[in-house]
């Protein structure tokens, strides 16, 4: 299975929604504390001797914490940069004209970026300045700012079935569900007693959302009855950094954690842990499942490696 070594510590990996062999990796130098960042666009090749080819690499002045592919253009990327800027890249343009836009509105580090898969014209960025901002590609400034959290917003994710609904997970231990048509959040509840680091909607059931937190657990909720979780999944040894629902299997979700493992869970089953991969030798902070290829997943971590493998196989196998 292909492994790619990045020069900096990996932070996020995302498969392209257009090409099944393409993925983007966001990396930051010095673990993202202080230093530069680099955005890699990689292509998987069937050639076993050179499994990855780097289509493009863009350097930034500060670390990149997250990347998101555009749903409207196959070569566009949105990068969430640690200096508070949001940068747009176009791989079809030469590197000298990249980034095509640098949007500077957040006052703290931008932690996540998510592109609207339904409307395809807008994207969200969430930041440590407690806000979530809504942008479109054509405007140089944000359309809306959602400021209700009282601490860093670690993740903002669009609902895959409702074009105007999104959820935000924050360090103030709450999860908020928003509707862009509403002036304020429509729902707020505390899924964990500690900071909620990530959230993701189920791709098949539009009211189900998974959250994961510093308390090492992953909880799956139905927003209609949010007092009690549908499922609680323990098993990680440390804080869970990212959670992603599978686009192919209704009940499957994948998580990565500071215990250096990537785990796959089935939350409808009593013994939820399906498989555990411990290929990383440092914090595993980014994970993604491909929409185009069933079972294909990628992960990256602070050990500067990006693995791409098929679910059920060993990521380190050649």
């Amino acid at each position: 299975m292909p492994v790619f070594k990045t020069p900096f510590n990996g932070y996020s990996v995302k498969f392209s929604p257009f090409y099944e062999d393409r993925l983007a990796v966001a990396t930051s130098q010095n673990f993202g504390i202080l230093g530069n960042g680099r955005l890699h666009v990689l292509s998987l090749s069937p050639n076993p001797s050179q499994p990855f080819t780097e289509i493009a690499a863009y350097d930034t002045a500060d670390g990149i914490y997250d990347v998101s592919w555009s749903e409207s253009h196959d070569s566009l990327l949105v990068a969430a940069v640690a200096d508070g800027s949001v940068k747009l890249y176009d791989t079809a343009l030469p590197p000298t004209s990249n980034p095509i836009r640098s949007l500077r509105e957040h006052t703290r580090e931008v932690h996540s970026a998510d592109y609207n898969p339904l409307r395809r014209d807008s994207f969200l960025t969430s930041s440590w300045d407690d806000t979530v901002k809504l942008w479109t590609l054509d405007r140089p400034s944000s359309i809306r700012t959602f400021k209700e959290h009282s601490y860093c917003v670690y993740s903002a994710v669009w609902n895959p079935r409702h074009a105007d609904v999104f959820a935000s997970a924050s360090g103030d231990c709450t999860l908020r569900v928003w509707d862009v048509r509403e002036p304020s959040s429509t729902m707020v509840f505390p899924p964990h007693e500690f900071e909620v680091l990530t959230c993701d909607w189920n791709k098949y059931d539009d009211c189900i959302i998974a959250t994961a937190s510093v308390d090492k657990s992953i909880k799956v909720w139905d927003v209609r009855s949010f007092r009690v979780p549908i499922a609680v999944m323990n098993g990680h040894g440390y804080a869970v950094r990212k959670v992603r629902f599978s686009p192919h299997v209704r009940n499957l979700l994948v998580s990565c954690s500071y215990d250096m493992t990537v785990c796959v869970w089935d939350f409808m089953v009593e013994d939820a842990l399906v498989s555990r991969y411990d290929h990383h030798t440092e914090f595993a902070v980014g994970v993604d499942m491909s929409v185009l290829v069933e079972g294909l997943m990628a992960s990256t971590g602070w050990d500067e490696l990006v693995y791409v493998w098929q679910h059920g196989t060993d990521p380190r196998a050649l």
């Binding site: 130098q29 009282s150 409702h162 304020s184 804080a239």
Partner: protein
């Protein structure tokens, strides 16, 4: 769809009974219909819980809470699981708290954000965006007009002050200052004379006191040193006595053996004697080695990773950043900000490397660590013990390849320091008397100690070494490190 919130709430409330039924009945057929019309699924459809609201009211009425920012109060209530409606209701019931629903608003950059801020301060609840925006604009213009007057007033005032200041400065220079200076000179002269007289007396007294103190200290040191010398001499004597007794025993054994041999065979005494001599030598060597076994090693050179090494661990980089250094591998074109809140994000509970570096840092920070020292040495000690045993078992044939200090001659005890652990064990097993002595000395020394208990605790194993060192020191040339150690001990105490 620009719907105002009050009608929205009514719509949601009307959907509540249906939603409640859904929660109980769990039929999702009605949901899709509602979703197409209004996103009521993503709205909290529970009725307000009165108990929660009352708890919130108590919380908000607490005097301490009233001093805290409103954001924190809201955030606290949200963390407790209250819904928006419940929180708003609680704020409504507690009259003087400023309930703010912080609206996103239709914002286009900073202007409307500031107006929304003004809006928050002025009026509670989300209202139609038109009116508050206009009032905000009006108030801002009024303040601007007032401020213009303030600026001109300020300029005039500054000019007047400057002129008056200049005038007073001139006056002072010409008339007041010379008078002051002459007065001050007189006073200073008088003071100096007084001080000189006064100083002479106290300096004499002080000097005498200091001399006395130093003399006393010196006397105390001398007394201590002489005491230690006496103690060490006594212990050496005791060692001698025991060695002699051991030798006597061995001699007796030899005699008995030789007698037995004579009786049995009456053969060459020389052969037997040489054998026994070898045994003696071995035995002596061993005894001597044990005697000199208690010597502490010099602490290992503490290893600090050079800062230019790549790759560095997370903790090293954090430390560098906190010290203000920049990691060397960054290229700066727009200087990035230090993310000192990364610790908040990463509730780091350790990767492998991170934990190891933490451990390293902690041991290094203990400074030639008390922790690092014995642990490291204990390990080596065990290895040495085994090696030495092997050597002896091999009848002295193997001049241990594994030994760390190649001993040139068997009989002569190597001056190199052996392990602490062995020393303690040896001491404990062989000598109860020195243990008693140790207690005495440790008592006398601990009286002099004014420092913490922890120091004493860590000191005790060291004291045992020093005692042992002193014991062993008499039988062979004392290496200087021992004395230095002792001196250090004394100084530290």
């Amino acid at each position: 769809m620009s719907t105002n919130s009050p009608p929205q709430n009514q719509g949601a409330e009307s959907a509540q009974p249906a939603a409640n039924v859904d929660q109980q009945g769990a039929t999702a057929t009605e949901e899709p219909v509602k979703q197409s019309s209004s996103p009521s699924v993503f709205v909290n459809s529970e009725p307000m819980r009165e108990e929660q609201v009352q708890n919130a009211v108590k919380f908000l009425s607490h005097p301490r809470v009233k001093g805290s920012p409103v954001m924190y109060r809201r955030s606290f209530l949200e963390k407790k699981g209250l819904t928006k409606e419940e929180i708003d209701e609680a704020f409504r019931r507690v009259p003087d708290s400023a309930p703010t629903v912080q609206t996103g608003g239709v914002s286009q950059d900073g202007q409307v954000k500031s107006s929304s801020n003004i809006q928050q301060q002025a009026q509670p609840q989300a209202l139609q965006p038109g009116l508050p925006a206009s009032t905000g604009v009006n108030t801002s213009s009024a303040t601007l007009s007032r401020s213009r007057f303030h600026w001109s007033h300020a300029l005039i005032a500054i000019g007047v002050l400057a002129a008056s200041g200049a005038g007073t400065a001139i006056v002072a220079k010409n008339s007041i200052l010379p008078r002051l200076k002459s007065w001050i000179r007189k006073v200073v002269v008088e003071d100096d004379e007084e001080l000189k007289k006064v100083d002479r007396k106290p300096t004499l007294v002080e000097e005498a006191a200091q001399a006395a103190k130093s003399a006393a200290a010196a006397a105390a040191d001398v007394a201590k040193a002489s005491q230690d010398m006496l103690i060490s001499k006594e212990e050496e004597r005791k060692h001698f006595v025991e060695v002699v007794s051991l030798l006597d025993k061995q001699v007796q054994e030899m005699k008995s053996m030789t007698n037995a041999l004579r009786r049995m065979e009456g053969q060459d005494l020389r052969i037997t004697q040489t054998n026994t001599k070898q045994l003696l030598v071995n035995g002596n060597g061993k005894a001597d080695y044990d005697l000199h076994s208690v010597r502490s090693t010099s602490p290992p050179v503490s290893y600090e990773p050079p800062s230019s090494l790549n790759p560095k661990s997370y903790m090293e980089i954090m430390n560098m950043v906190q010290r203000g250094e920049k990691p060397s591998n960054t290229r700066s074109w727009e200087v990035g900000q230090v993310q000192n809140s990364s610790t908040q994000v990463l509730q780091a509970q350790g990767s492998g490397e991170y934990l190891n570096s933490m451990a390293q840092d902690s041991t290094q920070s203990n400074g030639d660590g008390d922790d690092a020292l014995p642990w490291w040495q204990k390990k080596n000690a065990r290895i040495r013990e085994i090696d030495n045993e092997n050597e002896y078992n091999g009848n002295g044939s193997s001049y241990g390849a594994a030994s760390y200090q190649p001993p040139p001659q068997r009989t002569w005890v190597p001056p190199q320091p052996p392990p602490i652990a062995m020393a303690e064990a040896a001491e404990a097993i062989r000598r109860p008397k020195p243990a008693a002595q140790k207690d005495q000395t440790s008592d006398t020394q601990s009286v002099g100690n004014s420092s913490d208990v922890s120091d004493e605790v860590t000191r005790i194993p060291r004291r045992s070494e020093s005692e042992g060192v002193v014991e062993g020191g008499s039988t062979s040339s004392i290496p200087s490190s021992v004395e230095i150690q002792e001196d250090q001990e004394l100084k530290q105490e």
